[in-house]
Symmetry: C2
Subunit: 142 residues, 2 copies
DNA sequence: GGGCTTATTGATAATGATTGTCAAAAGCGA
DNA sequence: TCGCTTTTGACAATCATTATCAATAAGCCC
């Protein structure tokens, strides 16, 4: 087992993530840090975020555009309601869904089920862009 | 409006997708096609898949590794139970989840809610790799 | 069939996020 | 402080995907 060392870089990433409202990409967190004086390396930000995520201190998900987004979070498994405009994320309870996912999986003979459940929308502050005329909302996949 | 022309390439992609058990990436569909003689271009496969997806003739989702996966499918909105090993996908009904997602979204003042709900696991043919010893299952994100 | 117009193709370059490399720098226990 | 090891960071390397653009081929009218 490897000894984990404490570096100011790791702290910088952790606290930058803490001050963040919603989910952020590694790239934008890196530029924010650079913007505030720190000259931390990009690879380091990626590493730190990856570590935080695997330690359970951060939560990660993929944006519809395929970027990996992170958010500070210490609690266990849960899901999010994410604003497509400002990135605001609300943690939501989804016990029903948990149960449903497990049931569906075993019903079909699947084991070691994991699930991806996230809801995207526009929060009340970010009113939906031109309501009806939005014939092609962001990330319409189907 | 633009006129849509019928090319053998488009057909090739469509039928290659049809003969596919589960979800495939554009890349692997391209190599499959090349492997069977056709010398269709990669960009064309991407374009064809994108078109199929936006016409509703194909279904798309992101793998945990960040690739876009496609599958032939003509029905409306639904979700999948996907085998992490062989890619087999079972379409699952999730009316409860639909309702839940809408309710949660409006409960928090979110509008134009879309959701991502997919369950990954190992199908009965692909027994989970060394059951218990799997301390680090594929795509463990948290 | 013969042209004509224009959508489509495909080889390749470009992009953009993420990861690998490796020498230099910095933790931390002694 | 010393020395051993983990980390860092600049940069190169990957990898999926998209843009470019000249060459090709569909659909159509004759």
């Amino acid at each position: 087992m490897v000894m984990q060392r404490n570096t100011w870089q790791r702290e910088a990433v952790r606290s930058a993530l803490d001050t963040q409202m919603g989910f952020v990409s590694a790239q934008s967190l890196h530029s924010k840090l650079r913007g505030s004086g720190s000259h931390i390396g990009l690879a380091t930000v990626y590493r730190a975020l990856g570590d935080l995520a695997s330690e359970g201190q951060a939560d990660s998900l993929q944006s519809p555009e395929g970027e990996n987004l992170y958010r500070a979070c210490s609690r266990g498994h849960h899901h999010h309601l994410i604003c497509r405009s400002c990135g605001l994320a609300v943690e939501i309870e989804a016990d029903d869904v948990e149960v449903w996912a497990k049931r569906v999986a075993s019903l079909h003979g699947f084991t070691q089920a994991e699930h991806v459940v996230d809801v995207f929308g526009y929060c009340s502050s970010c009113v939906a862009p031109s309501a009806e005329s939005a014939a092609n909302p962001v990330s319409a996949r189907k």
